[in-house]
Subunit: 141 residues, 2 copies
């Protein structure tokens, strides 16, 4: 059997977690971290770091300041940032199955016995990801 793996969390998103973790550390001090520093500290290329940070900024999770002495910082208190928001900002919504997406028309719609079970799993996952805040995520417990 091949070593196929289905990941819920992509690599981009994993990088985003590290950035957010580092930004959380700097949050109380109020200081900004430049994309270059974040990239270097987390062993990600600068270009890619920019791309990911842009997505986070677009979702309103971080704020950017241009120019020298500029950089990024958390836009909100880390206790109010949901884990789910980070994931969705970078890689889009997570679903168990296409059938559960709003706009997808499953050919077995209505008569598919699997549907309700999938929905249960979906809501469990969503619940966990929403409940978990960035702050909790970072701190040991």
């Amino acid at each position: 059997m091949k070593d196929i793996v289905v990941d819920l969390i992509r690599r981009d998103t994993d990088y985003a977690f590290r950035f957010m973790a580092q930004l959380t550390g700097a949050y109380s001090g109020g200081g900004r971290l430049s994309a270059r520093v974040l990239a270097k500290d987390n062993e990600v290329s600068y270009s890619l770091a920019c791309k990911i940070l842009q997505k986070l900024a677009g979702a309103g999770l971080v704020e950017s300041t241009m120019g020298p002495k500029g950089g990024f910082r958390l836009a909100k208190n880390p206790e109010t940032i949901e884990f789910k928001q980070i994931i969705e900002a970078v890689q889009g919504p997570v679903s168990v199955n296409k059938c559960l997406m709003g706009d997808y028309q499953c050919p077995l719609k209505g008569k598919c016995p699997a549907h309700p079970k999938m929905a249960v799993l979906q809501s469990q996952i969503n619940g966990y990801l929403k409940k978990l805040t960035l702050q909790e995520f970072i701190s040991g417990e």
Copy 2:
């Protein structure tokens, strides 16, 4: 924002569910269903159906009989088949993050604060997928 979606369950696997569902219906009667019938009834090409059924057979979930009047049937009682087994037979193990796979060496191993949280989510998902049997999956409740 693009309409990216991360799916836990791939299309192959979805087809496999339908096959298994149909085979469950025929199970008590003891009859076999040919790959051609399964393909047609579920609107999947014959070639692809064969491929998926081979995977299911390889995992010991269905039995095949060659020759005319041959076909597939469940290898076990549908109450003893775990949902998770079907998924893994077709698309391989499901993981939340590569970090949680045994053979992957995360560069932040040990000091990564995210690790334990991911592990919790992982085990929740696994637990649900293992607990759910094919029989429960098929029947309304």
